[in-house]
């Protein structure tokens, strides 16, 4: 639901164009061809110009430059001169460390969805009930998301280190045999990372789900309970289907975030040992082998690979999952949209 609300403002502007047939989006622009609208154009140029210039300078140009540098062996000093063709890309794709990093990324993508999704929906259901201390619980769940990644990483790294709070607590409770090298043992480290990620980002998912829940009309539940549906039946038959668009958008954000994960890993495991502990990601690989090693050409090539992988995943997701949500909004099938609301 929430996404159709986000897109909604476009509806009126299309309608304002004065055209009724379905492929309304394009011709709407034709209205401004009347000379009287030059002021409007100037206004648009004036207001959006600075933002566009900044966007081009700091986002688009660097992206294109990375693509260019990726074809060079380049130390970062002076202009690149040593053209390397696809050597960097061959080196990246055949490097077992990079393959490991990609594998870790996809493990994180899947586990994030599997762990955070159900937890977030349950928490959202809980907080959608009128219970005491609801706002306190809501705040507590959301706090981790607001805290800076650096603080979260440092805090957890201290707690989970071998001589840290968790192992000390276990010892005090007489549970020495449960003590682990939570961060250093390659068999456990990924689990620890997922625990921290879930703790950190579940709040965001909960807030999204809550917003989604609140847009589900109360009447549906009333009608269902009159028909004798149990609480869980109501959740499975009403809440989950109507929460679908929210879940799909959240999953999309979660996937992109997981593919680009860098900061927490870099803080907790430092710049060097993430690959050893089995928690390296494509971004930490890029930082270590591009920036830290001073191979800026190679690093740029890694950035391009990371971009292409993220883009592919995003496009596939858009095509096969998000399409059902954007369908109504983008193709102007207003009848369907109305029905949904």
């Amino acid at each position: 639901m929430s996404d159709s609300q986000v897109i909604a403002p476009e509806g009126p502007s299309v309608a304002g164009g004065g055209s009724t047939p379905p492929p309304a989006g394009r011709p709407a622009g034709g209205v401004s061809r009347h000379g009287t609208d030059w002021r409007k154009r100037a206004e648009i140029a004036l207001l959006s110009g600075p933002a566009i210039i900044v966007f081009l300078t700091f986002v688009i140009v660097p992206v294109l430059m990375a693509g260019y540098y990726g074809f060079f062996r380049w130390k970062g000093f002076g202009p690149p001169t040593e053209f390397a063709g696809f050597d960097n890309y061959v080196a990246i794709l055949t490097d077992p460390t990079f393959q490991d990093a990609v594998r870790h990324n996809f493990i994180i993508v899947i586990l994030s969805l599997v762990l955070q999704g159900p937890v977030a929906i349950l928490f959202a259901l809980l907080m959608n009930q009128k219970i005491r201390g609801r706002s306190v619980i809501r705040m507590l769940i959301f706090v981790p998301y607001v805290i800076s990644e650096v603080i979260v990483g440092t805090g957890w790294a201290l707690m989970m280190s071998d001589t840290g709070a968790l192992n000390t607590l276990l010892a005090k409770l007489g549970l020495e045999n449960l003590q682990q090298s939570w961060l250093a043992d390659p068999k456990i480290a990924m689990g620890t990372l997922m625990l921290i990620l879930t703790w950190k980002y579940v709040g965001f998912a909960v807030i999204l789900m809550l917003a989604g829940l609140q847009s589900i009309p109360e009447e549906l539940y009333e009608a269902a309970s009159i028909d004798g549906a149990s609480f869980w039946q109501q959740q499975f038959r009403i809440t989950l289907p109507l929460l679908g668009p929210t879940i799909r958008i959240w999953a999309f954000l979660s996937i992109i975030g997981a593919l680009q994960l860098f900061d927490l890993v870099n803080i907790i495991w430092g710049q060097y040992v993430a690959a050893t502990a089995g928690t390296s990601t494509m971004a930490t690989y890029m930082f270590l082998n591009g920036h830290m090693a001073g191979n800026y050409g190679f690093g740029s090539a890694v950035a391009v690979v990371l971009f292409l992988i993220s883009l592919t995943v995003a496009l596939i997701y858009q095509r096969f999952v998000l399409r059902r949500d954007t369908d109504g909004a983008l193709t102007g099938d207003s009848g369907r949209k109305g029905k949904k609301k």
Binding site: F77, S161, A184, Y272, T276, A277, G294
Partner: protein, 432 residues
């Protein structure tokens, strides 16, 4: 996207403010930089963020200005880890500070290759040339000198005398067998034998460097710079020696995620708080440990011994490995720049430097100023060393150096062996 945009806008705004601010500053000093006569302002980038180190630079600049009233300074203290990145940006924008910190090895060679560093070969004073010897040669690129050294930081094993006594260890280990014996005794006394900050990779790699220093001949070590193939058997032997030693499990619990210098849980912190007995580290560790003791004072029972001899090694058992700190001038800096470098290389200034940084000065005449008892054995060993090599990762440059460091960590964590260290070095050399 909006978040990114806002960041970019802020950046642009910040840049504007910075330009305005520097513009104001520029008009204040009569815009003399680049000219050899008349008032001029030299910018300095150094890496000391603590009290005495920062004060040293302010005082040195002030006393130089007192002698040369035309020369003023703009001093910037930059966090050590940020230094390389900032230098790189400055090189690319052609905006190097007049005086900046240099680390020698391939790192310096990379900057020199851009032609933005001043050749100091003919302008270094006789005093500096006479008293700095080996340290000066650490900043040679193709036979020319590009920096004046300020401190030498040789590595070795720091240990707690009290903990050694508790474990019943009588003498400082001089061979690997004795070191392994000491490790066993410490373990028996329930003391963690060796602190290792493997999270930062280079402290773990130090162990490999020293095994290589003892195993490889002087020529092999000296020929390391710029080499892209590591075929000598001594590299593999060094890896095997380390693998065997690591097999005795001498390192602290959780060494893989232990940082080197930050906080009481770091390897330096473990030594400072008597939680571990030994650490293989560079000369800066005396000051580092002092800053992490409960009362912030130097560790009273801190001792030091050189890395033990290795059976069948081709290297000289007195050979040392360490770092050298120094300072370079940018190509376009005024002549006052080298004058200032010669000034800080004098005996009097080097003595102040040694006191402020708690380190060994590069000027050997100034070594009398070293007061810390833990530094004395290091200095003695340094003066007696058959030859001194720079840290292997510095010599090899960031690319191969970092790959080597992480490969050593991998091996210590049980992923890979001596052969894979050498293989990683070779593949990294092919990448950069």
């Amino acid at each position: 996207m909006t978040r990114k945009m806002r960041g970019a806008t802020l950046l642009a705004l910040g840049a504007t403010v910075a330009m305005l601010a520097s513009g104001c500053a520029g008009s204040g000093d009569d815009g003399g930089s680049g000219e050899d006569s008349g008032p001029q302002t030299l910018t300095i980038w150094h890496n000391s963020t603590t009290g005495p180190g920062k004060e040293y630079w302010e005082e040195a600049a002030a006393s130089f200005t007192a002698e040369n009233p035309d020369v003023k300074f703009e001093i910037q203290s930059i966090q050590n880890e940020d230094m390389d990145g900032k230098l790189q940006t400055a090189v690319n924008s052609g905006d190097l500070p007049d005086i900046f910190m240099a680390r020698g090895g391939q790192k310096l060679a990379d900057i020199v290759a851009t032609g933005q560093v001043k050749d100091l070969t003919d302008v270094i004073s006789e005093e500096a040339k006479g008293s700095m010897g080996a340290a000066l040669s650490a900043f040679e690129v193709d036979g020319k000198n590009y920096a004046v050294p300020t401190a030498v930081l040789p590595g070795g094993i720091f240990y707690s005398k009290d903990l050694f006594e508790q474990a019943g260890i009588t003498g400082e280990p001089t061979t690997m067998a004795e070191l392994e014996d000491a490790v066993a005794k410490l373990k028996a006394a329930d003391i963690q034998p060796i602190a290792l900050g493997a999270k930062d990779a280079w402290p773990a790699a130090h162990w490999f460097y020293f095994f290589a220093l003892r195993n490889c001949s002087e020529d092999t070590i000296a020929g390391l710079a710029g080499s892209t193939e590591f075929t000598d058997e001594c590299w593999t032997k060094a890896g095997q020696d380390l693998e065997n030693f690591a097999g005795t499990e001498p390192f602290n619990k959780g060494f893989l995620t232990t940082p080197a210098q930050e906080g009481a849980g770091s390897s330096a912190g473990l030594i400072a708080n008597h939680k571990a007995a030994m650490e293989l580290m560079g000369g800066w560790n005396v000051g580092q440990i002092a800053s992490l003791t409960p009362d912030g004072q130097p560790l009273a029972d801190l001792g030091w011994f050189p890395f033990p001899a290795v059976d069948g090694g081709q290297g000289d058992p007195t050979a040392m490995m360490g770092g050298v700190d120094g300072f370079s001038c940018s190509k376009d800096s005024p002549a006052a720049c080298e004058d200032f470098l010669n000034f800080i290389a004098t005996k009097a200034e080097q003595e102040k430097y040694a006191e402020a940084y708690q380190t060994i000065p590069a000027n050997q005449d100034a070594q009398g100023a070293v007061a810390d008892p833990a530094l004395e054995p290091i200095m003695a060993a340094y003066n007696e060393a058959a030859y001194v090599s720079t840290w292997m990762d510095t010599v090899l440059g960031q690319n191969v150096g970092n790959a080597l460091n992480t490969a050593v960590v991998d091996m210590l964590a049980g992923k890979g062996d001596a052969d894979s260290i050498v293989a990683t070095m070779n593949s990294a050399a092919a990448r950069g």
